[in-house]
Symmetry: C2
Subunit: 113 residues, 2 copies
Amino acid sequence: MARAATTSDVFNAIAEPQRRDILALLRAGERPVNDLARTLGMTQPGASKHLRVLREVGLVQVREAGKQRLYGLDARGLRPVHEWVGGFERFWNESFDRLDSYVQDLKQTRQED
Amino acid sequence: MARAATTSDVFNAIAEPQRRDILALLRAGERPVNDLARTLGMTQPGASKHLRVLREVGLVQVREAGKQRLYGLDARGLRPVHEWVGGFERFWNESFDRLDSYVQDLKQTRQED
DNA sequence: TTGACGTATGCCGATATGGGAATACGATCG
DNA sequence: CGATCGTATTCCCATATCGGCATACGTCAA
């Protein structure tokens, strides 16, 4: 039941570093599998497997080109992620401040001991 | 070796829906574990385990308060995620267009058959 | 100290994952 | 058709994960 209910959603897909690498690489344009694999230093089956996951969540799109299959980026699925994370934007600096004051409190307390 | 080299990074931490729920909830302020667990409908050990993961990647911060432990949000770790995903912002609409024209091509081709 | 409460940890089972190797599939070319 | 190239799939192993349950730990109160 590992990572239950998460399997095959976008958050899960981008949780794997190699898949993030693939996506980043595809920003430069479509690429056949072997090319991807070689560029990123993974085996062909390895690349195929990761591409499958990315395909299943819709982050990637395939196009047949002779013997080859050109994988291209379809970044639309990343938008919800961006929005979800963006919902915390307000707290980035605030957390900073809160932690700072927290540390201040600790110092204070320590001095009082 | 599941999710190799990913374990305990922020992307992995937010890949789990319940952990995202916890983070979202903590935007409203600090909360003790039992409270979190009850609110989100998970068991206490379950909540503790997820909180541990969040703690280990630094998305959450603990403060002792008597018998209780108050967990608070530290969203700073989400910033890199936001930036990484933001690197694809340009492609959201572009992908749209490309897919559209791709679909057009398919229709065209089909008509020519 | 004992007991109660809040929380963390340990152990277990079921499942899923990533990696490697072998192989099957599909298309092109001779 | 047969051979070859590019890719997907399958099988197996090691490992990690989540969930549930029991239990240990720490703090406070009586």
